[in-house]
């Protein structure tokens, strides 16, 4: 497992020599390159130019203190590691100036850990937001800033948007995350991998299964443990049920924004049915406590036939409700054309999940770097090219049915026998690796370092934070009243972004 099982893309053959970098062994799917901090920006630019997607940048501590950048490129995670050798300030060239996807990650690193890229120009403080501090840039006769949040209208999570408008068109939008920063990455330190799962499940509660899967897979890759195929199948089952709940939630909220209350109720009913199914299956409405490093803990209190019947019912109802939703012009007219995101913009911001797939990108961790049982079950990636809120809703509709297909396929295989569901983790060992999962909000990447069997460091690259940077650009021709439609079409969670 420690050797490179696949050849990195042809591009990488030239990359190490020209940068003075060397390829290090890493788990499959990861190409690790060690280089000098000053070569970091140049390497990132080469990756950018061949179409890599920015994932994250952070400080790692294994095998030595280093600045680490992760980039997704054609089925591999390219990892640039620039050792910082302890003493002295780290200096590296800023990526954010020419790659907007890197801006927030760089700024967070600078503000929290004092690692400032040279020639970086950051705006207002990102990580310690002040609800009252407005900074108006758009001036004119009628222009005024509206601070929307962190106390929202309705039951929503805390985040603030500063909207500058003359009353109709949105001249400038600034998203301000981190009102909910709880310091959870530091909370992992010193816990056993088993106990650390409780923390990762509570980073983004609505995507608890995806977070637990990505974390567990990182631990397993770091410690070279292979969960049993049956355990991997159960993980897929819980993860796809979570996706059903999240996508149904987004669609119900879209219906609510047009005051299509019957439609809202229909999708809420379906979502509640999924939540109850998960409660029966796991004892938790959010599937918590099931996924653990090495496998899965409890397996269902329901028979395969019962699950098939429940899914069949949901699928039938969903088919009818989708037809009605798509046939209601008062609904679709508000979504078509709203919040248009051209493909190049989405690529430049390295967006992931339904937001990227709604603009024609087939970005999906289950497809790019298949993990667990997705290697066997496969995935039809659902994309739409229009790039508007309607396309993002259509992606979710498509994915609901694809999730149901995967669920049924997984269930068919579960019939055959019950294998060992948990492989034991070796005690008191060291290791470090990335793990990933496609959360309902998009690709989630987790870096985990284990020392003496305890978690030493964790870094979470959440899809919500990465996609929110793009939200500022989602109002090219849209007016203030489109705000709720466009926000819900992103379907993100502040808790995951703020950590």
């Amino acid at each position: 497992m420690t050797s490179l099982t696949r050849r990195p893309t042809a591009l990488l053959d030239g990359l190490p020599q020209s940068l003075g970098a060397r390829i290090e062994p890493g788990p499959s799917g990861e190409v690790r390159l060690a280089l000098a901090p000053l070569a970091f920006e140049r390497a990132a630019r080469m990756l950018h130019d061949v179409g890599a997607r920015f994932v994250t940048i952070f400080l790692a501590d294994t095998p030595e203190p280093a600045l680490v950048g992760a980039f997704a490129l054609r089925g591999e995670l390219i990892v640039l590691r620039a050792p910082t050798r302890g003493a002295g300030p780290v200096s590296y060239g800023a990526l954010g100036g020419w790659w907007p996807a890197a801006r927030w990650a760089e700024q967070e690193l600078a503000e929290r850990h004092g690692v400032r890229p040279v020639q970086a120009v950051f705006g207002r403080r990102l990580t310690e937001p002040d609800a009252d501090a407005l900074d108006q840039r758009v001036h004119g006769l009628d222009a005024f800033p509206i601070p929307y949040g962190p106390v929202r209208s309705g039951v929503f999570e805390a985040i603030q948007f500063q909207i500058e408008t003359g009353g109709e068109t949105v001249a400038r939008l600034q998203t301000r995350p981190f009102f909910k920063h709880r310091g959870l990455e530091a909370r992992f330190v010193g816990l056993t991998a088993d106990r650390a799962v409780h923390v990762v499940e509570r980073v983004a509660g609505i995507a608890a299964v995806a977070y637990a899967c990505a974390f567990s897979q990182a631990v397993e890759r770091a410690l070279e443990v292979q969960p049993s195929p049956n355990a991997e199948r159960w993980r897929v089952l819980h993860a796809e049920l979570e996706r059903l709940a999240c996508h149904l939630d987004v669609i119900a909220k879209q219906a609510e924004t047009t005051a299509l209350y019957v439609g809202q109720a229909r999708f809420q009913i379906l979502k509640e049915q999924v939540m109850r199914l998960r409660a029966r299956l796991t004892g938790s409405r959010f599937g918590r406590g099931v996924i653990v490093p090495g496998g899965v803990r409890a397996v269902g209190a329901m028979s395969v036939d019962e699950l098939h019947a429940a899914l069949g019912h949901i699928e039938r109802e969903l088919r009818r409700d989708r037809r009605l939703f798509l046939g209601t012009p008062s609904m679709t007219d508000r979504l078509i054309g709203a919040g248009h995101l051209p493909r190049e913009l989405v690529e430049n911001y390295s967006a992931v999940g339904p937001v990227a797939r709604g603009s024609g990108l087939s970005t999906d961790a289950r497809h790019e770097r298949p993990y667990g049982d997705y290697r066997r079950l496969g995935l039809q990636v659902v994309t739409h090219r229009q790039g508007d809120a309607m396309a993002r809703v259509n992606v979710r509709f498509g994915e609901l049915f694809e999730s149901l297909r995967i669920l049924r396929a997984a269930l068919d295989h579960l019939r055959h026998g019950d294998g060992e569901l948990r492989s034991s983790l070796p005690a008191a060992v060291d290791g470090a690796a990335f793990g990933w999962a496609e959360a309902p909000q998009g690709e989630l990447v987790v870096w985990v370092e284990i020392r003496d069997g305890l978690v030493h460091r964790v870094h979470l690259a959440s899809p919500s934070l990465r996609n929110w940077a793009l939200f500022d650009r989602a109002f090219p021709k849209d007016v203030l009243t489109d705000f709720a439609f466009i926000e819900h079409s992103f379907g993100l969670t502040p808790a995951g972004a703020d950590r």
Partner: protein
Amino acid sequence: MLGWIARGLRQGRITTRYPRSEERPPRGYRGCVEVLDASGAPRALAELCPTAAITVDSHGQLALDRGRCILCGECVRAAPDRFRFESRYQTAARTRSALVVADDGLADEPDRDTLAKLAPALRRSIHVRHIDCGSDGSEEWEIQALWNPYYDIQRLGFFLTAAPRHADVLLVTGGVTTAMRGPLERTWQVMPKPKALVAVGTDACSGGLASDRRLVAGGVDQVLPVDVYVPGSPPAPIAIMHGLLLAVGLLAPGELVA
């Protein structure tokens, strides 16, 4: 539109009868942890809990603080003779100390002024406002669910309002992060009296797993007086409904149905 109406009618009634009759969770639902045997406990039992919800005093008397419990099940798995998951929704209490359980049953709750006592006319028209102070996002889902057709809390006279100045009850989620402290205090301040504050979720009761006190205050009651605590990670919609009914006095402590 007719299609939607036909769909709605064909569904029939799915709304819970709670609180007229009890709503039972599915078998195996992890609603709260019950203490089976609280005496003669070894000190090491306290180490099982990642949020220090379990304490053992010098006499070996064990106590479990549900306001800290995140329902992770570490104790249930390690000491099944002492702890058990209980499939129960009604876990809310009007005092923080009433969330601490030992084998001597429920701690007594002093009779406090509820919203209904102070303003009986409010009984059937309660306006609810929510503020997130650092939840993990799941509590918001469960609060939103109260207005879905399964729970339909509007039938009991609870309405969601966007304006704190119209609100009678404030639902707070999360352990109160630094950036949310000011907005929380101001929201509470502008609400007219009489008013009630309900802390929803273990994070709001105690801060939960977030343990860095420079970042998270460690529970809403560190900032403002709390009328009802609803523990759970997250609490189910019926559990939150129970908390709301306690807050307005439509249910008394210990009463399961109205």
